[in-house]
């Protein structure tokens, strides 16, 4: 019991359970999963389905953050990737041609990789600070998406494309399968192969890593590229889900949700240790929170406050400093201290 309490992910997991309970109270059959038209159907499935792009983006973000960086441009990459693939598909004679859709997907992902590499080069090569380097692409990427889509919402009508974000395979939403695959791949690269160690080392102390012979630049370019790739896939999912690409709104604010998911999952923004499982948990909390807001009928004006409230609670519970203060009485009494010094003002 005590070991569970101490576990890094105990508190976020608790919050997730509470959120789900709240939903169960408000919505009958929230947890029930049915079979409909040969695929699984239910609120829980929805959470995974709509959460899939966020989980993907957050996975990429986790590695970036672990190197001590941050990527604000993922939202724009989501938009660019969706816009490019939809543009390509909309230009096909036969939108249902699998080859054409694959080409579109390949093209969009290739562009994402290029964008990610650009981020990585600005950070590792030119030495621009990550927030700023990716802020540039965040701004430019929206412009690029608008340019690609010519300021319009591009609508496509392609069954194979629809599969990516809205379809099902073996009764499961296709998006969920993609997430599982990317998660497995990431876990393999970082935990089976040595990428994780190198990333954590670069994030923990870049200079020491350099002196240990690590090619930090390569590692950094790699994680930004990976993050952009994840964002590119997420962009395909989002645009496929609604069969259209909206250069202005697709992926808006997703970078903040992703950063939040990473932090809720226990990865520190100052770099170093990261937790993929934690990130997935964090993303699920955020998605469940959104679903909760819709299903328990929080009025639109207070939606933001409600969201902020839950996030605050999770973050406070995640903070050791706060826990130490809040739960002090439970533990052994500690030596009392003179309170005098506390009140003195900061010399100004």
């Amino acid at each position: 019991m005590n070991a569970a309490l101490r576990h890094r992910l105990f508190w976020p997991a608790l919050v997730l359970v509470l959120l789900i309970l709240l939903n169960v109270l408000f919505t009958d059959g929230f947890l029930s999963i049915q079979m409909r038209d040969g695929h699984l159907y239910g609120s829980v499935i929805d959470i995974f389905r709509f959460g899939a792009p966020l989980i993907l983006v957050a996975l990429g973000m986790t590695l970036v953050i672990a190197t001590g960086g941050i990527d604000l441009s993922v939202g724009s990459v989501v938009a660019v990737s969706g816009a490019l693939s939809c543009l390509w598909i909309s230009g096909l004679d036969d939108q249902d041609s699998v080859g054409g859709v694959l080409a579109a997907v390949g093209l969009a992902l290739a562009l994402s990789l290029v964008l990610g590499a650009w981020n990585g080069l600005l950070v590792a090569g030119a030495g621009i600070q990550p927030i700023i380097a990716t802020l540039i692409l965040m701004v430019a990427g929206r412009g690029l998406a608008q340019l690609i889509a010519d300021g319009q919402i591009i609508t496509v009508n392609s069954d194979p494309y629809k599969l990516i974000g809205g379809g099902y395979l073996l009764t499961l939403p296709f998006g969920v399968i993609v997430v599982l695959a990317v998660l497995a791949l990431t876990a393999f690269l970082t935990r089976r192969l040595a990428l994780g160690l190198l990333v954590e080392s670069v994030g923990g102390n870049a200079e020491a890593s350099r002196l240990a012979g690590i090619r930090s630049r390569g590692v950094i370019v790699m994680v930004y590229t990976f993050a952009a790739l994840c964002a590119g896939i997420a962009g395909l999912m989002i645009s496929s889900n609604v069969s259209s690409a909206d250069g202005n709104n697709a992926g808006l604010w997703i970078e903040l949700d992703a950063i939040l998911a990473v932090v809720i999952g226990g990865t520190s923004l100052s770099g170093g240790r990261f937790s993929l499982g934690g990130t997935v948990l964090g993303a699920l909390i955020i998605q469940t929170l959104t679903t909760t807001i819709y299903s328990i009928g929080v009025p639109p004006e207070t939606t933001l406050l409600f969201k902020a409230l839950v996030v605050t609670v999770v973050c406070l519970l995640q903070s050791p400093a706060f826990r130490a203060k809040a739960f002090r009485r439970r533990g052994r009494p500690r030596a009392t201290r003179p309170a005098a010094g506390e009140k003195a003002r900061v010399p100004a």
Binding site: L197, E207, A208, L211, G213, R215, G272, R334
Partner: protein
Amino acid sequence: MAAPDPILRVSGICKQFPGVNALTDVDFRLLPGEVHALMGENGAGKSTLIKVLTGVHDVDAGEIELAGTRVAFAGPLEAQRAGISTVYQEVNLCANLSVAENIFIGREPRRLGRIRWKEMRRRAAELLARLELDADVSAPLAACSPAVQQMVAIARAVAVDARVLILDEPTSSLDAGEVAQLFRVMRRLKEQGIAILFVSHFLDQVYEISDRMTILRDGRLVGEYLTAELSQVELVGKMIGKELADLERLDGKPKEPNEAAVPVVEARGLGRAGAVEPFTLAIHEAEVVGLAGLLGSGRTEVARLLFGADRADTGEVVIDGTPVPLRTPRAATGHRIAFCSENRRTEGLIADLTVRENIILALQAARGWSRPVPRRRQDELVEKYVRALKINPPDPDHLVKNLSGGNQQKVLLARWLIVEPRLLILDEPTRGIDVGAKAEIQRLVAELSDGGMAVLFISAELEEVLRLSHRVAVLRDRRLVAELPNDADLTTDVLMRTIASGARS
């Protein structure tokens, strides 16, 4: 002798960290007007005791009395206000601030609330002058070598009117002259009735300066002794808990390496503007080359150039007879050159990783991300070196940041030993390491070089340099001024004079 009342007295102190009992029921007292040495092996709990005393850590049990009244400081600030001035073990300053700002931060000279910048610089320069330190007080601290940073930390501590001065391993990165200067200051303070707590692994220094000592072992009190009444051998015995037979087994001079060998690495006219003048230096197989010089003489810079940590702008590095470009550390490790940096915190360890991960890091880096070191091999290697270097606690999954300073140094050493380099560059590898472990490391270096490894050995301790090196290169004002074979004529005195004058006299 009528001992005055202790200014500081602690009793029954206990302090636990997750998985470690750092202090168990420790009593300790400090008298005014004495220099009191706190002795113990790496990880014995010295730094922890100091941090507990000054409110950095809470105590789990026990009492602290300052001048007869019970205290419990909420933080270093309160301790400082109460008259306890402390230099913590690792240089803990703000690298981005200037030297003067570092000395006076928190108590800047002011008039009507406004900082008097000129006054501050003047007083900082005055203080440094008293420590005979020649440094630009408005330069950013980051531009100073660790030794200068250490002196600045000391200057900061002695600048206040304190009743108690605590110095945790202040001398580990100082050279002999600076140590002497520091001791002069300490004696003066002692005469003024200030109580000084002093930690060092240099036994000679402890015997030179201290009046009394308290010995810790594994977080427990061994006892309190008058320095005059305890011999060095007894002291070491009490510290490590057994009689020390083979500590000084390494005799005076190293064995001769076989001649005729080709240099493993040769620097030809290697130099970097602003760092070191072009120098030429060859290091052969099975040879230990020592680097001697005053602090700031450029020893670290030589090492960094040979490792590609900085780029040379003149000259070349020749390995096995072929010139190779060494632009990055990665290139150097590719040629099996290893560099154990003197600044383990900022340039060595990854604090948040475990002992195991830190040890295999260089090996893994050489293999690239796609070829992980198999777990079994990791376990073997890590266990071997944890045992060989007596890393304590011997738990490979312990976070490195929670190790004591000396044990951190050993982890860094282990990292480079497992890559089996051809040239091993050691910059102050014995800094902050206890006597037992120091002998261990010295023996290891000798063994490695016997086994054919070339070693470049940098240390502020001339005895150590003499004991290990086949040749000694002397640096002065960032210029290589002499290369002396370590023959019978070479003594510390000769070496000192060469360093001072720039030529062998």
